[in-house]
């Protein structure tokens, strides 16, 4: 792989691999079509087969692959799946597009900080994994290329955005520029869910609570049965409110109001106060740990693994992770309990924040665009999610089965780089889902039924707008989080609630709402 070959023999190798690739693609497509495309997993390969059908026609001769090129891609650095140069994902990119990728990883644990350094030194990678916040910060300063001007070279990206109007909306700047593309498909793993200890509930004749009143009663009973325990546990501090709030029909932050269509702020809703009243009761009676604001993941696992907590909210994958660690007992998905309103929801999952930007000063513009076009194509989606038949998976009974080396979804990342940032644009979540045990699938089937219809993504502000409210945003956030934590811990009595709401205006809430309203109106008008 790493051997440097001379031009001639390298071309030969490439032709050979291109041919194999085309043949493999054809094979897998045929197999699936024959099987009748029963599962939804089969839908994408058949789609990719038709896409690759036309591609392979031109791909078969040696002229198929474009000129060899090299680009650098900036990604996060994860210690759980440290990037490898020989990851399959990069090999497949090379095979499909003739682009050699050099992965540049973040040197700090916060990728945005490393990105800031790269931008300010002008030493940016050609393609960068970015969050919308990065685009807001650096995009207006001219760091990223306006991709809307290059859509003619990226037909697949254009098709991707056209078929994902919400994402298109999220990446279109107030002036019409497109500075980033946001990924899609792998967000299902970001879903936050409720779960409970089935065995403990069964043993004590308890049923999963359907409302917050029942949640309170059940927790109290559990506390009586296990005085040392904190029946409810959560580890995201105040951030956990964004998991609780949808069961009260609200979001704890700035959002578009469902009924009026105007921008509003979660705490202004009476349901929000109801939620805080519940949490205050829970806190007073020791139903969740008193150090709820300073808990980390390790502390959380301790509570869960030592039978100290029985109900929790966490990322969906944690159910299986914890079940693997529990020596006795079993965690099971729980429908969100209803706090207020007509239906209890889970926060919207399924969307992603990570995406790509191209450096405005890139020297490899064509290759960078070609890379994006590939990963957002149907074929690129299939290969970057599943790998290649015979190499990473086999077809068993018409369904794809990933090789045994992949035991859980993290192995996909660790071994081949699949599902790691920067390696995919449009993901087929069936791949990691196929690794999940049958017994753990319930949460993935059930959680989509409770999706909160209000999104927490906000309309994009212009630079002037961002600057005009940046101190207010910080001041409001600080005042809000201090006040709410004091309400929950009973340091401020709930009779002071109206004062809290009134004070928010002092910190400039109205100005923030108006600014976002302007942005929202502009976005609506553009559609």
């Amino acid at each position: 792989m790493k051997k440097k070959t001379t031009g001639k023999s390298a071309a030969g190798v490439l032709v050979a691999s291109a041919l194999t690739a085309a043949m493999l693609a054809g094979c897998s497509g045929n197999n699936n079509n024959n099987a009748g495309a029963s599962s939804s997993a089969a839908a994408s390969p058949s789609a990719s087969a038709s896409a690759s059908g036309s591609a392979s026609a031109s791909a078969s001769p040696s002229a198929a692959l474009p000129e060899p090129a090299k680009i650098s891609i900036f990604t996060e650095y994860s210690t759980a799946w440290p990037p490898q140069a020989d990851w399959g994902v990069w090999k497949w990119v090379k095979e499909e597009t003739n682009i050699t990728v050099e992965q540049k990883t973040s040197t700090t644990t916060v990728p945005s900080e490393a990105l800031a350094l790269a931008v300010s030194s002008g030493d940016m990678a050609d393609v960068m994994s970015v969050f919308p916040g990065d685009v807001q910060k650096f995009g207006s300063q001219g760091a990223f290329l306006d991709l809307s001007k290059h859509m003619d070279k990226m037909p697949n990206v254009k098709a991707y955005l056209d078929s994902h109007p919400v994402i298109k909306m999220r990446v279109t700047q107030p002036d019409g520029k497109i500075l980033n593309i946001i990924n899609d498909g792998a967000g299902a793993g970001n879903q936050l869910v409720w779960f409970y200890r089935e065995d403990i509930f069964d043993k004590n004749g308890l049923t999963p609570p359907k409302t917050w009143d029942e949640l309170y009663e059940t927790s109290k009973k559990l506390k009586q049965l296990y005085p040392d325990s904190y029946p409810l546990v959560f580890r995201h501090g105040l951030g956990t409110l964004s998991i609780f709030a949808p069961s009260f029909g609200i979001l704890p932050e700035l959002q578009k109001d469902k009924t009026t269509g105007k921008m509003t702020y979660g705490p202004l809703s009476p349901n929000y106060k109801t939620m805080i009243e519940y949490l205050n009761k829970f806190y007073k009676e020791g139903l969740f740990p008193p150090d709820w604001l300073s808990m980390d993941y390790k502390a959380w696992t301790q509570f869960m693994a030592t039978n100290k907590s029985f109900i929790s909210v966490q990322y969906i994958g944690q159910i299986e992770t914890m079940n693997n660690q529990l020596t006795e007992g079993r965690l099971k998905f729980m429908a969100p309990p209803l706090g207020a309103g007509d239906k209890a929801y889970l926060p919207q999952g399924g969307y992603e924040d990570y995406g790509f930007s191209v450096a405005s000063n890139t020297k490899n513009l064509d290759a960078a665009l070609r890379y994006l076009d590939y990963i957002y194509s149907e074929k690129g989606r299939d290969i970057q999610s599943w790998g290649k038949e015979g190499e990473t998976y086999t077809i068993v009974d018409g369904k794809r089965k990933l090789n045994d080396v992949y035991k859980e979804s993290n192995d996909l990342r660790r071994v081949s780089g699949i599902l790691s940032a920067g390696t995919y644009g449009w993901f087929d979540f069936e791949a990691p889902l196929s690794l999940i045990k049958e017994s753990e699938r319930e949460a993935y089937v059930e959680s989509p039924k409770y999706q909160f219809p209000v999104t927490s993504t906000l309309p994009i502000l212009s630079k002037e707008e961002t600057d005009s409210i940046s101190t207010q945003i910080d001041a409001i956030y600080k005042y809000y989080s201090t006040s709410i934590s004091k309400f929950i811990m009973g340091e401020t009595p709930l009779t002071e609630w109206d004062n809290f709401i009134k004070e928010l205006d002092k910190y400039g809430l109205q100005k923030v709402l108006q600014t976002y309203q302007v942005a929202l109106d502009r976005q609506t008008a553009a559609q």
Partner: protein, 325 residues
Amino acid sequence: MMNGAVVGASTDGLSIPRKGDEAVKPTLIRNLKRDRTYFLLLAPVLLYYVLFKYVPMFGIIVSFKDYNLFAGVWKSDWVGLKYYKMFFQNPDAYDIIKNTFVLGIYKVVFGFPAPIILALLLNELRWKAYKRFVQTVSYLPHFLSAVVASGIIIMLLSPSTGWINHVIQSFGFEPVNFLQQASWFRTVYISSEIWQEIGWGSIIYLAALTSIDPQLYEAARMDGASRWKQTLHVTLPGIAPAIVILFILQIGKILEFGFDKVYLLSNAATYETSDIIATYVYRMGIIQGNFSYATAIDLFMGIIGLVFVYSANQVSRRLGETSLW
């Protein structure tokens, strides 16, 4: 050897004037040439200061500009005092400045005497092995990174699983939620600072203690001074110059905090005492990306720090002979 050569050369120049030398006055170049070895020795330190302390000062300019990261410092537009005004119009500004000062003053009031006391106590120890053991143990926390130290503190202080609260409960008291009460934040932070820095800080004082002439103690004993009186009238005056110099330096650092530890130990419930300039600058500068604004605030704080050092130095000059300059 090289030093010897230089010294030799300079005495030569003084004692045996050679022909033509009378006309040459000690100019800068001449001095440089004469003391080249010293300058060479000084160079790395000088270079360090120029590179890492003076060159970055150029960046102060962005606090007066609408800094565009990508365009660079020169091409960004001038905005004058916009960001300074922005800070003072912020309703939080007063609280943040107050928190910074209060925490800084506490740090000096409680944190400054601690290593002096430790050094004096160690000085009284006659059992060498035990003294060394105590010294080593008290240095160690200095080498812990803020992340590790905060992790330890958070675990120890947890009201549900922490040891300290287990002890408190075993005496029959209610557990204290140390990290989630604004009123506890300063105590927790200052105590942890003392725990981390007391041993390290005592090194200089211990060094100063060794330079006290033993004859002074002998004389004091002859006059019938007790151990306490000896400490008061011999030891303390002996290390007073070191104390004063360190105190002035400390005053200059009154507004300087290891940002990471404050940040890691604080949470929403303690913002009203734990939000200081450094954490605010982090949120505005790094998180929100408003570099000009963050620079303006930091520069403002730097100037206050300078005023502090200058005043402390003036006071010290009036009162005694020891001063930085």
